[in-house]
């Protein structure tokens, strides 16, 4: 009998649950592409270029979600040391996925900016703080690859993750705090007034759900890969130690 956690193959990181999650993400993604490109109306000001919003905005939100997940998992990993390294692996996996979505945000935002502002890049508060956030998490991933045991890696990267997450409010409110070329939030704004047509809003939220499902799928698989990498690293260290001890014993 197949249960929800039964693996589909003994050599894979997938289970029935992750396959269902992946299928949901793919179906929703297909809907977002069809609706975003063909069904939703053009904007009165931005015309057709507004269609980039359906991939740009969900990417940005999921990048924020990923970095907050990294911070929460890092805090658990740092303050509850008796637990396994599972939370540290979730933190690392989530940061990798966050960097991917942040890169998508920057590139799609740049293309959108070329159409609406006439330039790919401006050293504007929102763009600059977003680029800084991206570089910070690339640095976080570099720190994770420094030499050391998995537990040393967990501690030093957790401290950085807890500091880096403080940049997110700065990025989000940069359009309010400073004069910015970037528009203010159309949905998560401070006055609670949603300035989007019904189908546009529905497609945008479909994108958020689709990207969230993809994010969950990525993190689950990536942290399982990280678990196997850690296992190989520690077993490799055990073998090396055994060989050194064997050399030290006089024959």
């Amino acid at each position: 009998m197949t249960t929800i956690t039964t693996p589909t193959t003994s050599r894979s990181t997938s289970t029935t649950a992750t396959r269902v999650l992946g299928t949901v993400a793919l179906v929703l993604m297909a809907w977002v592409v069809v609706s975003g490109l063909f069904l939703t109306p053009a904007d009165v000001v931005q015309l057709e270029s507004v269609r980039i919003m359906y991939v740009h905005v969900p990417s940005a939100w999921i990048a924020y979600l990923a970095f907050v997940t990294t911070a929460v998992a890092s805090a658990i990993s740092l303050f509850r040391r008796h637990r396994s390294l599972g939370f540290d692996r979730v933190a690392g996996a989530s940061a990798e996925v966050g960097v991917l979505f942040m890169a998508i945000t920057l590139v799609t935002g740049s293309l959108w900016g070329r159409l609406t502002w006439g330039t790919f890049w401006q050293w504007d508060p929102r763009l600059t703080t977003t680029a800084f956030l991206f570089v910070t998490y690339v640095g976080y991933l570099a720190i994770r690859r420094l030499d050391g045991t998995p537990r040393q890696r967990a501690r030093r990267s957790a401290i950085l993750a807890l500091l880096a997450v403080l940049e997110i409010p700065l990025v989000h409110f940069s359009v309010v705090l400073w004069r910015s070329l970037h528009q203010e939030a159309s949905v998560l704004n401070t006055d609670g007034d949603v300035r989007l047509d019904g189908l546009m809003l529905f497609t945008l939220f479909s994108g958020v759900i689709a990207f969230s499902a993809a994010f969950a799928w990525f993190v689950v698989h990536r942290q399982r890969v990280a678990a196997m990498e850690d296992l190989r690293l520690t077993s490799g260290l055990d073998v090396a130690l055994a060989e050194r001890r064997a050399e030290a014993i006089p024959s």
């Binding site: 592409v33 996925v97 799928w217 399982r224």
Partner: protein, 44 residues
């Protein structure tokens, strides 16, 4: 026409990079799985 190209490129880059990340992750998982015994995979 210029708008269409930029819009299409946004979607291609978004979906393409996500697909690439998925493929690299699954390939890495399969490669590692061959060297790790099943008893050390808690998700199984």
């Amino acid at each position: 026409m210029k708008d269409v190209g930029f819009i299409a490129l946004s979607y291609v880059l978004t979906l393409g990079s996500m697909a690439l990340f998925a493929v690299v992750t699954v390939r890495r998982a399969r490669s590692l799985s061959r060297t790790i015994p099943d008893r050390d995979k808690p998700w199984l």
